[in-house]
Symmetry: C2
Subunit: 340 residues, 2 copies
């Protein structure tokens, strides 16, 4: 077991000073060619690599970014994460990930743990609890300390920082119009409780879509489901009690559950009822018929978020750039669960 070699080791072995070794390896012209060659050869032979931690301490830059997401077993977040990792890596950054598990406390604790030097900035999607509490002091404190933050998807207007969001409103409206074009008039929405701002946006987009098409909104056609429960009964009753021609679901689980129940009730998709979901995930791609859905382009979102953050990190000390909000354009993927 040969432990990692340091500058000091090289210096001692070659009988020069540490500074000389450092300079030689950085190809400084302060050092003579012969000495440089000797040192480089030796370093190469022993596979010298500078210690990241020492560099971080010296440079006050870790080249690490912290990512805090509510859940990892979730298609959308993993695609975003993939985008983050991809871009970050290409820029020489590593990614430290923390899962808030939808908990405010875990979000706070994790971020504080990382904030003491471990990372240069955060990319964050708010936990459900944080959104419910509407308490963002932890974020404000970090920003105060000069640690840049980029929010994505589950954001808040309460804090000033870079953000990346989806055009939820517009795409929901577009989905409704798509239903209308195929002849539907009784268009339902299945959504989650409203402290998720994305759900709220989608709902408003849905309402706007109805308005644009001169349809009247009907509260009975909006089903709000609780989080993390078995919703089979609620959905079944919903379709038994209401005449529905099309349904927009704010996520793909709802969509695929709906489809199962609708089929079970004896209707056919899309002939009797059309369905559009959100998230072009594994479920949408493998159901039968395949689900028409809103592709959120998570990977692109992640790349954008990472770019915003790294730009901000690397331009620090510069004059403060104004904060930006990037909008990712969702696209409607038309598959078997709608009439095209």
């Amino acid at each position: 077991m040969k432990s990692k070699i340091t500058l000091k080791d090289i210096a001692k072995e070659l009988d020069v000073s540490i500074s000389t070794v450092s300079k030689a390896l950085k190809n400084s012209k302060e050092i003579s060619k012969e000495t440089k060659d000797r040192i480089k050869a030796f370093a190469k032979f022993y596979n010298y690599r500078p210690n990241n931690i020492a560099l971080s301490l010296k440079n006050r830059r870790t080249k690490n970014i912290g990512v805090v997401i509510p859940d990892i077993v979730h298609h959308f977040f993993t695609t975003v994460f993939r985008g983050i990792e991809k871009y970050a890596n290409s820029m020489g950054y590593n990614v430290i990930i923390c899962i808030s598990d939808e908990s405010f406390d875990k979000e706070v604790i994790n971020m504080e743990m990382l904030a003491n030097g471990s990372i240069d900035g955060f990319i964050l999607s708010l936990s459900a609890e944080t959104q419910k509490k509407n308490d963002f002091t932890h974020l404000k404190e970090l920003l105060d300390q000069g640690i840049p933050i980029v929010l994505f998807d589950r954001i808040t207007q309460e804090i000033a920082c870079d953000k990346v969001i989806l055009n939820d409103f517009e795409i929901a409206s577009e989905a409704v119009s798509h239903f209308v074009l195929s002849g539907a008039k009784k268009i339902a929405l299945i959504t989650t409780e409203r402290y998720f701002n994305v759900s709220e946006n989608r709902k408003n987009g849905y309402l706007e879509g109805l308005k644009l098409n001169n349809l009247k909104a009907d509260d009975n056609l909006i089903l709000t489901l609780p989080h993390n429960k078995d919703n089979t009964d609620l959905i079944t009753k919903f379709f038994q009690n209401n005449e529905v021609e099309a349904v927009l679901c704010v996520n793909e689980i709802f969509a695929v559950q709906c489809m199962g129940i609708i089929q079970h009730l004896g209707y056919t998709v899309p002939d009797d009822i059309s369905i559009i979901g959100f998230t072009d995930g594994i479920l949408s791609q493998n159901s039968s018929p395949k689900l028409s859905t809103v592709a959120q382009h998570g990977e692109k979102m992640g790349e954008k978020a990472a770019k915003l953050l790294i730009d901000r990190i690397e331009s620090a000390e510069m004059e403060e750039e104004p904060f930006r909000t990037e909008v990712i354009n969702a696209t409607l993927i038309k598959r078997g669960s709608t009439i095209n």
Copy 2:
């Protein structure tokens, strides 16, 4: 913007030495009560937190672990990761994640990047390419440098380290027996190319299951599908050309694709054909009928892997413990795609 406060700042402000501050905050009894109180109050007021990087440099311990997985948009890996994160976090460790993207080079580069001080150990599942190449020199070198590694799921016998695996062989055999109990004799296997050792183990377990039940293996009933392709035609032909009563699939995507195709061909699941998949993921839970499947208990696997690694890290310097291989027992979840 108030930048982070350091020991030096406190020392200067309170007109004591840095050592005194450090000791006071660690409640050393070398320091008088009054001085300690003064310093603690000051530190608390300014929300002093020691700099992680400085601590890492001093202690030569980062309290970070590196996780390298082939893919993040993948239910099994995310559950394992969740287990890792959970345990690691509870022990005060952070998790740096790298995605190898099934590429040998990315695996090597990422690990080397982290190995220069950024982490105290690795948890790794081999990339497809690495398994194909059968080249593990990068792992050997890291082990040589004294960096502990824990392999999970996609492992290799070529290197000596702690490992966590699933009892793929036994559970596949058990699945076959379950089919037999419900009356099936013509039992098929749908698998991936064999350089995935888990697939190989599952296949061997399948064969063993047949043998145990006095059934003859039939090569025609084994369908090997290429990676990342649209396999619809291959699967369709397979079921058109072969009489099959039950099928074991090595992952849930194959299983749900199978089910769709089987139903499309006019058979019913499970009456005509039973299906068991691997991975109790979102697909299995939301298909209709719901898929009977092998639960891999990824979270448990992740926790075990993290525990093995952290134990190893924290017992370093101690006499070398022998390497361990933990086996996670998969369980068969019987749902609608089999006759129970």
